[in-house]
Symmetry: C2
Subunit: 197 residues, 2 copies
DNA sequence: GTCTATAGTCTGATAGAC
DNA sequence: GTCTATCAGACTATAGAC
């Protein structure tokens, strides 16, 4: 039996954990920091989650569905250029709306994906292989410029996630300007020129 | 007076430290790991470097010169497209030849650039502002397609560093294929199409 | 210069009162 | 359910023999 208070506390803890894990990585984060952000005591955190590891796992499990959704939505029946541009736009929106999730993911992969290799080699690889075949078909039919579908997908990841993951650097270089200001127009031009047959 | 043995040991330690810091981040790394990789005892590490922090600093200081060199080499007198393509190629080579350095840098920036903000807001910003002005001039003169110079530079960083920083993910998706296989041809096409007036 | 031993601190997790 | 107190292990750094 789960009460309303329990659900609320679990959510508060996971939100604080996302704050800290995404900013410090798994080993860099401490339960003290998470407890402080959540406004709860350290033992209280461990009443809701068995361990630091469990907390982190819960975040990654939540993350993966959200992370795969935009690519999942790429429709083989749609217009090729419009579908890929739409995918790019959705990924850029995710960098704007969920920068912490992007950095949580980046921290993991950067450190060799120790807790994500199963998910990446499983669900993510299957999804990418599937959509890569669709894109290859579009190119072969002349409906899209000939491009390597894997590098195309990687380039969308790299360009959109960069704005969340390297936010600190971009801010220091651009000063007052919002890091994402002009990014959509730039990426729109970049991919339109690449994809038009 | 610095002996040959001292120089050799310092180099061995820094190489081991780069291995571990780039793979685990600053807090994730331990002196035990670095000592094991270097083949020295933990107190011996601290004979050559005052602290873990000092070791990390030494790596970052070395890194910055190497990191800025490719953009520094972008020549205002050269052919616009050739200069930018050359810069992109040099950055991609750095991802191939110095992936650990790329990940060391990525780890730092991802965690808010706590130890790099001065260098980024100083030397790096000055260099980027300088080269951005050059690129803007080229576009205004019609020698290059009109592009936002900052986003152009960010896109080169994002696309080239992605192959080093997200290497684990790319390997899991591509299997046997070398992550960088086909990357040069893809990026060549992408930027040629973007930059041609 | 390099080692073993260890001091002192931080951190994840548990015990037990309320 | 939530807290204070605390344990056990890991970690950075130092002391001191050789």
């Amino acid at each position: 039996m789960t009460t309303r208070i329990q659900r609320r506390n679990r959510r508060k803890i996971l939100d604080a954990a996302l704050d800290v894990f995404s900013a410090q990585g798994f080993r860099g984060a401490t339960l003290d920091q998470i407890a402080a952000v959540a406004g709860l005591s350290k033992p209280n955190l461990l009443y809701y989650f068995d361990s630091k590891e469990t907390m982190h796992r819960a975040l990654l499990d939540n993350l993966l569905d959200v992370w795969l959704a935009p690519l999942h939505a790429l429709d083989p029946q749609g217009d090729p250029t419009a579908e890929i541009m739409g995918y790019m736009r959705r990924k850029l929106e995710m960098s704007r709306d969920y920068p912490r999730e992007s950095r949580l993911f980046a921290n993991e992969v950067l450190q060799g994906a120790p807790r994500l290799s199963d998910a990446i080699a499983g669900d993510l690889k299957a999804l990418v292989d599937d959509k890569a075949a669709v894109i290859r078909g579009w190119s072969a039919a002349g409906r899209l410029a000939p491009v390597d579908p894997y590098h195309l997908i990687f380039s969308i990841w790299a360009l959109t996630q960069h704005y969340a993951d390297f936010d600190a650097q971009i801010r220091l270089i651009r000063g007052e300007t919002d890091p994402l200001d002009g990014a959509d127009a730039f990426l729109e031009t970049l991919f339109t020129r690449l994809l038009t047959p």
